[in-house]
Each structure stands twice: as C-alpha cells, then as structure tokens.
Symmetry: C2
Subunit: 315 residues, 2 copies
C-alpha cells in the first residue's frame, strides 16, 4: 500500500499557478510547494508540469531547481520526474559515482518488474544517448561487472508458472557452488539474473527446505566482501523488496551520519507503491515509527516534504 495522500480532482492549472506564485517575489514559499507537490500522484504531477509549461513557457523542474537547494531540492526534483525517468536519473548518478553505487543499480534492476525496468532503459536512452547496459559495463570490471550487467540487461519472464523440479535442481546447484565458496561462479549469476522472480522464490524455498538455512545466510561467509553483499542484496530485492527497503531506511538513519540520498530514494520511489508496508515493517523492527526517525534525523523543508510523502494528512 502507498502512503501518498491526494485530494480529489485537484486542478493542474490552479496548481501550476500556485507554484508560480510560490516561486515569485522575495524568497520562496516552500510550504506551499510541499503542500501541493507532496500530495499529488505521478499522473497529476505530470499534468502540473504540462500546465506550467503552457502557462509560463518555462520548465517547472528547472525553475524549482533554481529556487530550492540542498536535500530538499534533490527530493523535489526526483519526485517531480516520471518513475521511469527518475530511475534513469538515479541509475545514471549511480554509474557515474566514482565509487559506483552498486546498491542503487541492483535495487532498480531487481525490484522493478520487467516492463518497468524496460521503461527505465528507454528513458535512459532518451536522456543520455547511451544504454544503461553499456554504461554499467564500461564503469565496472571483474565479478561486479558480470553480476551487474547481467542483472541490468535481463528481461525476465514475469509470469507465475513454476517448474518445481527445476527449482530443486537449481537449489542443489547453488548449494554446491556456495559450499565450494565459488561465489562468483557463473551459475549463480546465470540463475539469479535470468530466472523469473516466481521461479527464484521457489528455488530459494527449496534451498531453505533442503539445507535448513536461507541462501542469503549461506552467502554471509565474509561480511566485508562487497561482492557477497551485492549478491545478498539482489536476492533480497527479488524475494522481499519491502523488507529490503526497511533495512535501507534503518541504515540511513541509524549509522551516525544520516544518509539523505538513501532516505530520499526509498521514500520518493515507494511513496506511491508500498511505503505503507515498509513503514509497518520499520515500526515492528525498530519499536518506533519511521516518522519518528525522520523527525529526529532530518529538519526543515526537507523533513516536512518527506513527512508529506509519508502520508501526513495536511492537504
């Protein structure tokens, strides 16, 4: 379930006019911006962008970029983009990062459905005149390249059909390879990157049934090994994305310095999808609400905007 709360039938023209007003004159009226944009869904935001462009011959996103700043600006910018466009931007930033932010790439590749991932790749073509596959491939090497390129390139079958004997034989194969500590073995990458999510769930269940431990636990051999961390991340994104996102949020607020990029990414990309489920998991796991954590670890307009996306009822 989503957390986003939107009013019935808001007028895109009125919204565009209010946003224009909020940007004009001395200072910017951030509150008005949050009140509008923090309570509009993707279709409505798109209509507002179009209405604004028509009314003022000006790009709303560019205008807001020049008016806002810091984490608040970043969050509003990401929020205003279409989901596929936003993922293309997130992936591009992740690829260009000098350290290569593999977490974001795995998240986009493994959480999105096949059709959603395809839309991201189309948006990436349009925006960067390159393919996502090619940028990931040319910014990585070795085992990481093999894994990431395979995860990004695949066009998985999205159906529910499961082949039980295949699940059993591939669970066995995975166990043998992992037992032999051949973590970058091409069979792990092949299975993880090409099988459908339903099939992979069946395979991981067989793994647990046969060996009494989950495959992610088996891949905990060396906690400092980043490739193993990437494998576990991909598996968690495929099998239980809400739980994965709960952990990202937990790490974003609980590790001394708040990780605003991760916080923004999860809240902005999930607010219209399953952020309510993630919030519930967060509450259960941390004995405190996500809102409480955000209140504690962020501030100002940025905080107000995140809380709006989290379902703050003030319309």
């Amino acid at each position: 379930m989503a957390t986003l709360v939107v009013p019935d039938h808001p007028s895109p023209v009125q919204d565009a006019e209010s946003l224009r007003k909020a940007c004009q004159g001395w200072g910017t009226d951030e509150k008005a911006i949050i009140q509008i944009l923090g309570h509009r869904n993707a279709v409505q935001r798109n209509q507002i962008r179009k209405a604004y462009e028509e009314l003022y011959q000006e790009n709303l996103i560019k205008r807001l970029e020049s008016e806002l700043s810091g984490d608040f600006e970043k969050a509003v910018y990401r929020w205003l983009l279409d989901p596929a466009e936003r993922d293309a931007v997130l992936a591009h930033v992740a690829v260009k990062d000098s350290m290569l932010d593999y977490q974001t790439i795995i998240e986009i590749a493994c959480v999105r459905s096949s059709e959603e991932l395809l839309a991201v790749k189309r948006a990436y073509h349009l925006r960067y005149k390159h393919s996502l596959d090619e940028d990931v491939a040319s910014h990585t090497t070795g085992d990481f390249r093999k894994l990431l390129v395979a995860l990004v390139s695949t066009f998985r079958y999205d159906g529910d059909e499961i082949n039980v004997s295949l699940a059993e034989s591939e669970a066995k194969l995975l166990h043998e390879v992992i037992k032999g500590k051949a973590f970058s073995h091409e069979e792990i990458i092949r299975i993880l990157s090409t099988r459908s999510k339903s099939q992979l769930n069946a395979t991981f269940n067989c793994y647990r049934d046969a060996h009494g431990t989950s495959i992610t636990k088996s891949l905990l051999d060396d906690p400092a090994d980043e490739f193993l961390a990437a494998l576990r991340m991909a598996i968690r994104c495929i099998t239980f994305p809400q739980k994965y996102f709960e952990k990202v949020l937990r790490n974003a607020v609980n590790k001394g310095r708040t990780d605003e990029d991760a916080l923004t990414r999860v809240i902005v990309t999930r607010a219209e999808k399953d952020l309510n489920d993630i919030k519930e998991l967060y509450h259960k796991r941390n004995n405190a609400s996500l809102e409480h954590a955000i209140n504690k670890h962020t501030s100002g307009d940025y905080k107000a905007f995140l809380l709006a996306l989290l379902g703050d009822k003030e319309l």
Copy 2:
C-alpha cells in the same frame, strides 16, 4: 528494398474463403495457397488469420499444418506468423536444437533493431512462459554462453550519435586483445554486446584505418574455431546484414546438400525488408540470380512458394 509483391486492397474475408476452399475436399490446392499467401504482407496475413478464425472457428495455421508437409509446410507456417512471433519460434527451435544453432540466435539478436528484439522477447515470454535470455543461458556454457547471453540480453541504444574518441580507444583496445589472441576476452564481448550499432561501425572503421585490416579478418586466426566464427558472424550481422544474408544463402545452396532451413529463414524473414538488396548482392557475387539457384536446388510447391516471396509477379 523488399521483394514481396502484393495486390491493392485484397479482401481478407475473400482470402480466408479461398484458403478454406483450397483445404477442402480431396487433396489440397497448394497453388491457390501460394497465390494468396505468397502475395500478402504481414498486416494482410494477420487480417486473413483473424477473418478465417471468425468465419470457421478454426485456426488457419493449424489447418494448413495438417494439410501441407515438409519444407513447404515449414515455410508457410513461418511466413504466416507475425515477425516477432516467428523470430521467437526460430529462436526457440535454435535453443532446443541438440547442437544449439547459434547462428540463428546471433542473427536474431544482432540484425533486429532494439525494439524488434524486444518484441521477440515479449513474444517468447507469451509463447513459452520463459525468457529467451534464460533459455539461451541454460542451454550454453563457457565462452559461448557469455557471448550469446550478452547479445540476446542487450537493449542497445539505437541512435546515430557517435563518440569518435571512444571509437578510437575501443578500436585500440580490441586490437590489443585480438593481437594477444584473447578472443573470448570480456572486453570484446562487452563492446560487441553493449555499444550501439552506429558506435560499433565507427569503432570497426577506426580499427581498419589504424591497422589496415578489418576486424573480421583479424578474427580469422583459426578457421575451425567456432567461437571465432560466432564473433565474426555477430560483427557482420551488425555492420552489413545484407552481405551476411547473401553469404547464408550462398552457403545454403552451394554446399552439396541444400540447407532448406537457412533458405527458408532468410527468404521468409527478409522478403518484406531488404531481400531485393540481398538478391542484388547475390547476383553480383555469384554471377547468377538467386531465382536461378532456387530453381536448381529446390522443387515443387516449396520452390514455387519461395519464388513467390522473391517477387514472382504472378498474382
């Protein structure tokens, strides 16, 4: 240019009725079938299939399969399918082949545009409840797997933009790797499978300019090496598909036993695309027309059907 010749505004209902008549009673009227289906484009064939289904509550393809036989049946069956559906069938047959027919897979992956290849993958999902990537991956091993999965999975950028300095640096990189005989080097596979076709053309031109020989010639180290043959094939499919198809046709008729599968595949998949250009290249290269070769090496209804697709004017 295409070779297919179609009449103005044929009636799908009339066509369906004529096909029904051709299938009824004692014996089948193959001539009538060729006269109709050999002169209808993809849209028209689709309309005929629909009209036939509505009129007779019977699947036209299944009916024709039961009426026809041998190479003629195979050719009509492939011809009746939508292009993407047909490629999905061709790829599936190629994957399931005990020897794995890598030529067909490379052809589909490298000749089709990104959007066409995507349509093939969608058709494959729908038909086989599996992804093409996963079937290719699970039926191959080693270097062949790396190459084929990468070529099948990619979603290349389709634009014309070229980065000249990238072309130069990757031409140099390719030359170094090839000089060191590291043919299955991951950089060859990365470049070949992820860069746009325009970019690859630029890279291969740089290669030729800098080293006085084409990259395909450099990959001729051991003529018996199948992996090298696959690399050359992929490069030829990307850079000059018509020339590649001319060679496939030449081999199909000039090697003692006629290769009807290859003949059918090229003629059926190219008749509505560029078969005229392929025919011209064939004529130039072999001092004889493609029609002449087909007349010589095939017979009966199969021959008549291929000649119809090749532009036989008899409507």
